[in-house]
Symmetry: C2
Subunit: 396 residues, 2 copies
C-alpha cells in the first residue's frame, strides 16, 4: 500500500465521524454512537471504502490509551478511595454473573457438559468473554453528559478497572486449566506487583511532576512528558505484568490528577483526542464488523449471546449497587454503564481461539456484542440522566 | 509485533525529543535539531532502542502533512501572490544549479560520460536527487523564530512548493528517457490540471467553510472538517495528479487562510502537531539513519555530495534572490532556507533505484544530506536572524 493511502482513510473517517456525530446529537444520542455508525457505514459492512488497516488499528490503540489517561487525569483521588471497596464488590458481581450466565447459555445451545470436559471449558470460556467491561464508550458518554466526576461516574470507572483485572485473572485460570504454560498463581502475584510498583513509582513521578510544574508551569513540556509517562506505564503494565495497557494509562492519569497543571495536560490531550485519535478509535469499532459465515443457529446464538451479556452485567452490577445503598436509578445507571464491551472482549476471544476453546465463527457474536453495547449504552445512559433531570434529581 | 510495542516507541520518542529539544534551545539551536538528534540517538545508529516501524513512518507522514497545512493556514494570500513570480525564478534556479552541479560531481568521481550514455543518465540522476527542497524543517525553524510570515519566509515557502513541482517534472523527464512508461508531457498537463482543480475546488470549499464558520464559529467541527479537507486534498494531489501530498496539504491551508476561524483551526492543529506528530516526524529522520556498507571512496563521495548539494542551492537561490532586489542578508537566508532536503529526496532516490539509475549504496549519501541539511539549516538561519537583530534590521 502506498503511504498516502492512509490520508484517504483519515479524511473519510474524520469527515464521516464528525458528520454522524453531529447527526447523532441532533437525535439526542451521544456523538460516539454516530462515530461508530460512521465506521460501520464506510467499512466493509456497507460501503467498503475503508478496511481496517494496521495503521488505523494502532491509531485506535493510541486513541483508547489517551482516552483512559484523560479519565484518570479527571479523577478525584479522595472520591476514588471512598468508592474503591464498593467498586470492588460491583466488579466481582460484574464478572461472576456474566461468567455463570454465559456458560449456561452455551450449554443451553450445545448441551449440558460434565465438569472438566472439553465442552465444559468451552462453555466457561463463552462466559469468560462476557466478563470484561470496556469502559471507554461509557466514559466518553459520561464525559459528554458532564457526569464523569459524579459518584456514579467514579464508581463505574473504578469498578470497570477492577473488573478488567479480575477478568484477566479469570481468563488466565480458564486457559490455565487447558494449557500448562499459564500459571494462575503467577497472574495474581503479577497483578499485586503491578499495583505495588504503580503506587511506589507513581508517587515518585508525582513528586517529579510537582517540581516540574512548579518550575515551568503551563509549558509544553508538562503535557508532553505526561503523555510519555502515560505511554510508558501502559507499556510496562501490559509487557511486564500482563495487565491491560488501558489500566496502565488510567493509573498514569490518576498519578497526575493532583498536580496543579492536570487541567492543562488534559486540555492538550483532549484536543488531539477529539481531532484525531477519538474519531478513529470509535469508527474502528464499526470498521471491524462483517457479517459473513452466518447461519440460522449461529444467528440465534449471537442474539442470545448479546442479550445475556448485557442483562447479566446490568443484573450483577445493579443488584450489588442497590445492596450497597445506591438509589434504584443510580444502580441502574451503574449496571448500564458496566455493560459495554470492547477490545478486551475481542482480545479474550483471540486468546481462546489460540487455546482451541473457540472457533472463529463466534467472533461475530463478540463483535455484535461490542457494537450493540457501544450503541445502546450511551443512548440508555442519556435517557436515564434526562429522566432524572425531569424528576429534578441532582447528581453529586 | 504486539500492538502495545508502539507505546514503548512513542514514550521513548516523545520523552527524548522533548528533552533534546529543550537542550537544543539551551544551546541556542532550534528545537527541531534536538528532536532529530534524539531520533539519531534512540535509533539503530546509536542505542538501537527503536527501529523505524511502519507506524512511525505513517505517523511521520501525517506529521509533515499537518505541518504544511499549518503553514498554509498562516499564509497571507496577498503576500503570496506578490512573491509568486520571484519565487518561481528562485525555484527554477534552485533546481537547475543543483542539477548541473550534481551531474558534474558524479562525472568527476566516475568519469565524464558522453551525452545519452548509461553513465550520463546516472550522473543526471544524481543531480536530480539534489533538486527537491523539503521545506518542512525550514518552516519549523522559521515558525520557532517567528519569521514565517515575513517576506523572506513567504518567499521560501512558495519557492519550495514550486521547486517541488519542478523537481517532480525533472524526475519524470529523466526517468522518461530510460523507461517508456513515463510521459513527461503528461506530467506537465497533470500539474496544470491539479492547480486548476485546486483553484476551482478550493474556491468552492472556501465558500463552504465561510458559511460553516459564520453559522458555527469556534466549534470543533471547523478544525476537524478542515483537517479532513487537508487530508483529502493531499491524497488527491498525490493519487490523481502525481503532485507531492505535502503540496496538497499546503494548498488546503492556503484555501482556508482567509476564513475568520483560520487562527482557531491552526491552534487546534498545532496542539496535535507539537504533542504527537511533530516530534515523531523529526525523530524519524534520525531513525532512518544507518552507516553500514561504507568505504573510503563512497565516504568521500558522500561528503562531496552533501557539500555540493548544500552550496548549489545556496548559490542558485541566493544569486537569483539578489538579482530580484533582495538584500544580501535576505538572499543568503533564502539560499540557506532552500537548502534543506527531506523525504522527497529519498522518494526520488527510491524511484531511481527502481529504474536502475542508482544503487542502494548511494542512499547513505542522501540520508547524510537530509541529516546535515536538517541540522545545519535551522542553526544557520537562527545565526543569520540573530546577527540581523544585533545590527538592528527589522523584518517585514
Amino acid at each position: 500500500m502506498e503511504s498516502y493511502e492512509i490520508l484517504k482513510d483519515l479524511a473519510i473517517i474524520l469527515l464521516f465521524a464528525k458528520c454522524f456525530g453531529i447527526l447523532a446529537r441532533k437525535f439526542k444520542a451521544p456523538q460516539v454512537v454516530g462515530q461508530i455508525i460512521a465506521g460501520l457505514l464506510v467499512g466493509p459492512c456497507v460501503f467498503g471504502w475503508i478496511t481496517q488497516t494496521e495503521f488505523i488499528t494502532e491509531m485506535a490503540e493510541v486513541g483508547v490509551i489517551i482516552l483512559m489517561f484523560s479519565v484518570g487525569l479527571e479523577s478525584d483521588l479522595k472520591e476514588l478511595l471512598k468508592t474503591g471497596p464498593i467498586a470492588f464488590l460491583i466488579a466481582c458481581a460484574g464478572v461472576l454473573v456474566p461468567l455463570v450466565f454465559g456458560s449456561l447459555l452455551y450449554m443451553g445451545f450445545y448441551g449440558v457438559a460434565p465438569w472438566g470436559s472439553e465442552n465444559f471449558f468451552k462453555a466457561v470460556f463463552m462466559g469468560t468473554i462476557m466478563t470484561a467491561t470496556s469502559v471507554s464508550i461509557t466514559v466518553a458518554s459520561l464525559q459528554e453528559l458532564g457526569k464523569i466526576k459524579s459518584k456514579v461516574g467514579t464508581t463505574i470507572v473504578s469498578a470497570a478497572i477492577i473488573d478488567d483485572v479480575i477478568g484477566i485473572i479469570v481468563l488466565t485460570f480458564v486457559i490455565g486449566f487447558k494449557s500448562p504454560d499459564s500459571n494462575p498463581g503467577m497472574v495474581i502475584v503479577k497483578t499485586i506487583a503491578f499495583f505495588a510498583v504503580a503506587i511506589v513509582g507513581g508517587f515518585l513521578f508525582y513528586k517529579i511532576f510537582l517540581t516540574l510544574d512548579k518550575r515551568y508551569p503551563h509549558t509544553r513540556r508538562i503535557p508532553i512528558i505526561g503523555v510519555a509517562f502515560c505511554f510508558a506505564l501502559s507499556y510496562i503494565a501490559e509487557r511486564y505484568f500482563g495487565i491491560a495497557d488501558i489500566t496502565g494509562a488510567y493509573v498514569a492519569g490518576v498519578v497526575l490528577c493532583s498536580i496543579s497543571d492536570n487541567e492543562y495536560i488534559k486540555r492538550k490531550v483532549d484536543v488531539s483526542s477529539y481531532m484525531f485519535f477519538g474519531p478513529i478509535f470509535f469508527a474502528s469499532i464499526g470498521l471491524k464488523t462483517t457479517f459473513n459465515s452466518m447461519n440460522a443457529k449461529l444467528f440465534t446464538f449471537c442474539i442470545c449471546f448479546v442479550i445475556v451479556a448485557l442483562l447479566s452485567k446490568i443484573i450483577g452490577c445493579g443488584v450489588i449497587s442497590k445492596i450497597c445503598k445506591y438509589s434504584l436509578p443510580d444502580s441502574l445507571k451503574i449496571g448500564v454503564g458496566m455493560m459495554t464491551r470492547g477490545e478486551v472482549a475481542l482480545i479474550v476471544a483471540q486468546k481462546g481461539l489460540a487455546a482451541g476453546l473457540l472457533t472463529a465463527d463466534y467472533f461475530t457474536a463478540v463483535i455484535l456484542l461490542i457494537l450493540v453495547s457501544s450503541i445502546l449504552t450511551p443512548i440508555i445512559l442519556k435517557l436515564l440522566y434526562t429522566s432524572d433531570e425531569k424528576k429534578g434529581i441532582v447528581h453529586t
